[in-house]
Amino acid sequence: MEDFRADWGSRACRLVPGFVRPFLRKLAFAMMSSIVRSLGSVLISSLASFSFAQESDPSGPAEFGPAELGPLEFGAREAEHLLNRAGFGAAPEEIAHAVEVGLEGSIEALFSPDSQALPRFVSERVYIDGKDLKVHLAREGIPPEEATEGQLRRKWDELTLIDRHQLSGYTRLWIDRMVRGEDPLRDRMALFWHGHFATSMKRVQNSHDLIRQQQMLRDGAFGPFEALVLGVAKSPAMLEYLGNRANRREHPNENFARELMELFTLSPGNYTELDVREAARAMTGYTIVEGEFAFLKELHDSETKQVLGVEDDLDGLELIKLILAQEACPRFIAAELLRWFEGVDAEVDRVEAYAAILRASAFDFEPFLRSLFVDPHFYSEAVVGQRVAGPFDYAVGSVRRFGVDLPASAIETAGRVMGMRLFYPETVKGWEDGMEWMTTSTVVARANFAGVLSGQLPVIEFVRSARAPLHASGSMMSMGAGSSGGADEDEVESALLEAWVCTYGEDLTPSDEVSTEELLGRLLAVEPTPAERAALEAWSAAERESFSGSAQEWAGRLAHRVLLLPSAHLH
């Protein structure tokens, strides 16, 4: 990927160290004093040899190398934190590697991933409307004029199923990428945008449009923001989801215009109800024709509108440019991104400082992220290990730390029962975060997923119970849930054993205290509390007496318990 856009600054700025230099340079023009305040003393002191007077001179030489970052320690704690938050967790070996290459090397790796080896998912339009059903039937030799109601129904059911499978295919490929960690930061950002510009299969009913939108968000994950907002405004999935496809001059439909300002760009309090109604007029005529975006002038209201204090005959593009130029926009997006990566609401000063970075870079997210990843606050006690892991932090993170090869479908299911069904957000607001992930229901779901990971519960049983509707118990029992066996079970168990043997060798003994410590270190992203450690030891001491299985089996049971500890939900 190209590091910086042409308008970002001279190439010379990108020499050593690539990320700090342009960041400081831009700041010289922007909110210098507030970023100085907000970035805290560590980074500041690290740059002490390099006065801020100098920074205000954009042409000044800046010959300071990576060593200048010295005071910002980058040990295992920081490395693991970076890999947790910028990616989806890391095994001890990956953490050790990150420490070895250092902070700068680790950041560079995030922005220039080793491999894009996984193939690009190519989706197809399965159908648009009833007309397509006839086209499909014609391929089976049924002439359109002879198609019966029953045949059309059957074809519709068939295509609906195919459509869902296509979406599942993309979802699993995405999960697979998270697990492999080939381009973790991009996938982390893609997940952010997935919730930020939420659209749901439930209403869109068209996997091709959802996949295309998500691919657009992933490709443009690092900005510029304007391209994303425009892309979403023109995305058939969003046009369908928020109904703008039916927004026309005579009776504007306010839905997209409202969410555009409330959720996508400004946040409440930064526009009025009148702005919503007037913006809706600017968005009239943006619709779908034959499954593709179209702007239909005859449906567009070209009269004067009054939006955000501007009086003009705005169209959709001009509206979006006007909105993005509001002070509130970079502030809102900066706050959202800081919360996404840090897990807590950032102080006003820091939001302002990061908003300034967005403004200065025309909403390019790379300088923003490079700044964040060297920001001492990002590595502070208030942030590290303090966030409740989201469903994919927990599921993918555990898989990565464990080194188990689990089918992506199981992780997809896990995400769903833990509260995050990809491509099916419950509302246009996307998902909540933090403690909001945790209910009695998701606690149980996580415990069961931990059972799958550690070989204590067959995948098939996990998936089956996760899909069980209310009052299905009778039939579930008769289907033999709980019985052992099944291909999935064997598959996971053997993968687990393999991973164990690889990590600990053949001679792991059940009484090996070190293995408990190692397990805690490997499986948890945070340090367990003494009480947790004591509880685990007590359990282990009581159970070991009566346990007669192999060392690996014992380790599996122990691993299951480790993943149940309250600390297992933090990262």
């Binding site: 039916a246 069980a468 359990w539 500890l565």
Partner: protein
């Protein structure tokens, strides 16, 4: 269409009123116990406990096509394609009727206990789904801070005496209404999903619950939640697996959820609030493809539930309340749908419900600048009435003010 700007105070004036006996006692500040209405007092004496079945109709239910002003020409003029004809609806009086989907199932109308509170809203309505939902769920303008209104209700009623199954949400997304750090809601989706597999007991999952985690810390909260799950999976499974409903439930999501509610009520697990959510009411486009289906699902599931629990001793104080974050615009839009509007009706049902119409008459002749009728009943008056007449607690602490009490809860027979 005439659009009038009315002084909001005219409408607010009606909301400040009684709860006299309770509110005064609550304000007195001395150690005297709060006087509670007779009905609620009786319940505490060992009768059937109160149970609120709270249904959130998410997305903004179109109140005008739920409680239909079928004789009003303004309704018909505003909705050339969406208005129900007089011949389709089920009149309650000469002014209002239930939509064609409600009271549709055979026998449901005979139950006679479906009612509605008209024109429910709040001043300066926020037409954002999320903000308005927050306001309804917390009964606070500021939205998501502190407990939800059910949380406050339970704290007022039970103080610190908790029970894992006291507040239960059936479904995937826990509403903020139930939020409480004291009376934490139990949430589950299905009895099969709500089971620990792989030999997990309540052992390590709540490690450190003995107070070794810092109070209020994330770990402490996680341990509490885990302990609650470990303590309730069995009771939920037993209640649901052994339950034999007296009538079949429709095979839709809400049917399953209300059947689970009936099972939990019958099992006597101590649930006082059962919560569920029906999604999909955000009908901006081609409303007639979705709204009737949703109301039909609601009606069919609710009808079964009412017939199932009717006459069961444990269910004598069950009150069903269905609300939405706002109503929809009176005028239809170009997409044959409706945009976010202002007030809407709250539906009530169940053995503890007083059927018929409640609240002040909502009028279509006076609309606000967006083209919505003005609200006539503050939703906090609805909550306050539930607090006072169903749960026997001082409403003021629950809703944060005094509102005119309503009469939609049937007194418990002496």
């Amino acid at each position: 269409m005439g659009v009038l700007h009315l002084d909001r105070r005219q409408f607010l004036a009606g909301s400040v009123g009684s709860f006299t006996s309770v509110a005064l006692a609550g304000c007195s500040g001395d150690a005297e116990p709060v006087r509670v209405p007779a009905a609620a007092a009786t319940e505490r004496g060992g009768g059937p406990g109160p149970c609120l079945v709270l249904i959130q109709l998410t997305g903004g239910n179109d109140g005008h096509n739920t409680l239909v002003p079928y004789t009003n020409p303004i309704y018909h003029d505003s909705r050339p394609r969406l208005a129900y004809a007089e011949s389709q609806v089920q009149p309650i009086n000469e002014r209002l009727a239930f939509s064609p989907q409600l009271l549709r199932l055979p026998g449901a109308a005979d139950l006679g206990n479906l009612g509605a509170i008209e024109g429910v809203g709040y001043p300066d309505i926020d037409r954002s789904h999320f903000r308005s939902t927050d306001i309804w769920q917390t009964a606070r303008r500021a939205g998501r801070t502190g407990p939800g209104w059910i949380g406050r209700l339970m704290e007022a009623r039970h103080g610190g005496r908790t029970l894992p199954e006291r507040v239960i949400h059936v479904g995937p997304d826990l509403p903020y209404s139930l939020k409480s750090d004291v009376h934490r809601p139990l949430a589950f989706c299905s009895e099969d999903q709500y089971q620990f597999h792989g030999g997990v007991e309540g052992d390590l999952i709540a490690a450190g619950r003995d107070g070794s985690h810092a109070p209020g810390s994330t770990r402490a909260l996680l341990a509490e939640l885990a302990a609650q799950a470990a303590a309730s999976t069995e009771s939920v499974r037993r209640a649901l697996e052994g339950y034999e409903p007296r009538v079949p439930y429709p095979p839709n999501e809400m049917g399953g959820q209300l059947r689970a509610c009936a099972a939990l009520i019958e099992a006597g697990v101590g649930a006082e609030v059962l919560s569920l959510e029906q999604k999909g009411y955000d009908t901006h486009v081609l409303q007639q493809d979705t709204h009737p289906r949703l109301l039909l699902e609601l009606d069919s599931a609710l009808s079964s539930f009412l017939r199932d629990i009717g006459g069961r001793p444990n269910a004598r104080r069950v009150l069903v309340v269905a609300f939405s974050e706002f109503g929809r615009r009176l005028a239809e839009n170009a997409s044959v749908g409706t945009d976010h509007g202002s007030p809407g009706p709250v539906l009530i049902a169940g053995p503890a419900a007083q059927p018929g119409l409640h609240g002040r008459e909502a009028v279509l002749e006076e609309l606000d600048e967006a083209g919505d009728p003005l609200f006539t009943t503050d939703f906090r008056a609805v909550y306050g009435t539930i607090a006072r007449d169903l749960f026997g607690v001082d409403p003021e602490g629950v809703v944060g003010g005094r509102y005119q009490g309503l009469e939609f809860i049937r007194p418990l027979p002496a």
